[in-house]
Subunit: 242 residues, 2 copies
């Protein structure tokens, strides 16, 4: 591989998304196409909550490592988006309302008692990656947000059309994400285009995005294996009622 | 929960193994009962190699944190068991021979190119656990070895009986483990019995063993989901030939 132009690097990043982003996962397709029952949607909401709840830890870890006030300020907006400005605001609180909306006890969700070990390991791997890799790799690992507006649109329309236990209020988490994710991914993409200018750093940012796609994909692997027929719920994890 | 006697604590630890150790996992049963094909056994050997290869890192991480020469010397025997005294000796090298024995290119195995992300995240979670938790919890997390002699005996006899591509030489990894694991687990169990003497530390060691059972269980979840019918190999992971 030789050094890519910024446009070619962006194309290579987008090609990774086209191959590996979790919109191609069978569990995602089943969720959007209405093939899951309420207990399976609950399992998804419960496990995905852990991802949402660790995103501020991931972002704070990166902010702590950023060298300038300008970069820290730019990244700080993500903390505000996720943690809000007051109790009950922000993305994590909205996800908890999604979980309540599909019938889960929010205290149980927050306790993490029913979490799949595979979810925990994948999410923790993301936080550790951002703590331990170069700042460029840490920023590149956020670039799955380039691909999220499409999946959010599919998810919201599919879930509203197919599940009578889901309404617009339940899915309110996703509305601000349609503006936040493109703003965030544009900043991260500009940074990566400007700073990944050698063969070595370009290979590293491509690997970082592959890694992050693996995190999201592996979370759906764990859900599909545990909760979709025949279902292999591991010892101690959430068991849907009925 | 009130404070348990050392014997009752040991019973509680053994009860966790009875419920959560991975000898109860469907992939393990399929492996031992001859229901896998050669490609599926290869996938198991390739992914399990990553676990084997990180055990010395896990042990060195703990040795670095142990406060006395006596404890460090005791734990050092594990490093010697796994890394050997010369090239080609030790548990990691023997696992690579197992992988070669079932038909894999050892360079490919060592490259980790075909590793399942779920395997990587679970194994890395174990190393991070040992780095970040109390020494007592780190030692308790090794106690899955209490249960390994049984699974090893089942594995060796089952694989020799059912797979014509497996012979005793291929499975030579397991022979010394039948003596090493009981010696190691006896040391760790004595330490835990002696040092987990409060409600809080007893709850912590029980949680540490549950965590570790989750690591091993989740590795088999990932293998079963990816490689057993219908098979959902994630993008980029090992695809068996044929």
């Amino acid at each position: 591989m030789s050094v890519l132009s910024p446009d070619d690097l962006e194309d290579a990043l987008r090609a990774i998304g086209a191959e590996r982003y979790h919109n191609r996962h069978p569990f995602h397709r089943a969720l959007h196409e209405g093939r899951l029952d309420r207990g399976q949607v609950q399992a998804w909401a419960l496990n995905r909550f852990y991802y949402q709840s660790r995103i501020p830890a991931k972002d704070a870890t990166l902010i702590a490592r950023l060298p300038t006030a300008e970069l820290r300020r730019a990244w700080r907006s993500r903390l505000i988006d996720h943690d809000g400005d007051a109790p009950g605001t922000g993305g994590v609180a909205r996800w908890l309302r999604l979980a309540s909306g599909v019938g889960l006890d929010p205290d149980y969700v927050e306790s993490l008692d029913g979490l799949l070990p595979g979810t925990r390991f994948a999410v923790d791997a993301y936080v550790h990656f951002v703590a331990g890799r170069s700042i460029l790799e840490a920023i590149a690992s956020s670039l799955t947000e380039l691909f999220s507006p499409t999946i959010i649109a599919e998810r919201v329309s599919g879930m509203l059309a197919h599940y009578d236990f889901v309404d617009r209020d339940t899915l309110a988490y996703f509305t601000p994400r349609l503006e936040q994710a493109p703003k965030d991914s544009a900043f991260a993409l500009d940074y990566v285009r400007a700073h990944a200018t050698t063969e070595e750093t370009q290979a590293a940012v491509l690997a970082a995005l592959r890694f992050k796609c693996g995190v999201l994909w592996s979370m759906l692997d764990a859900l599909d294996y545990a909760y979709v027929s025949p279902g292999h719920v591991p010892p101690g994890a959430f068991v849907p009622a009925g």
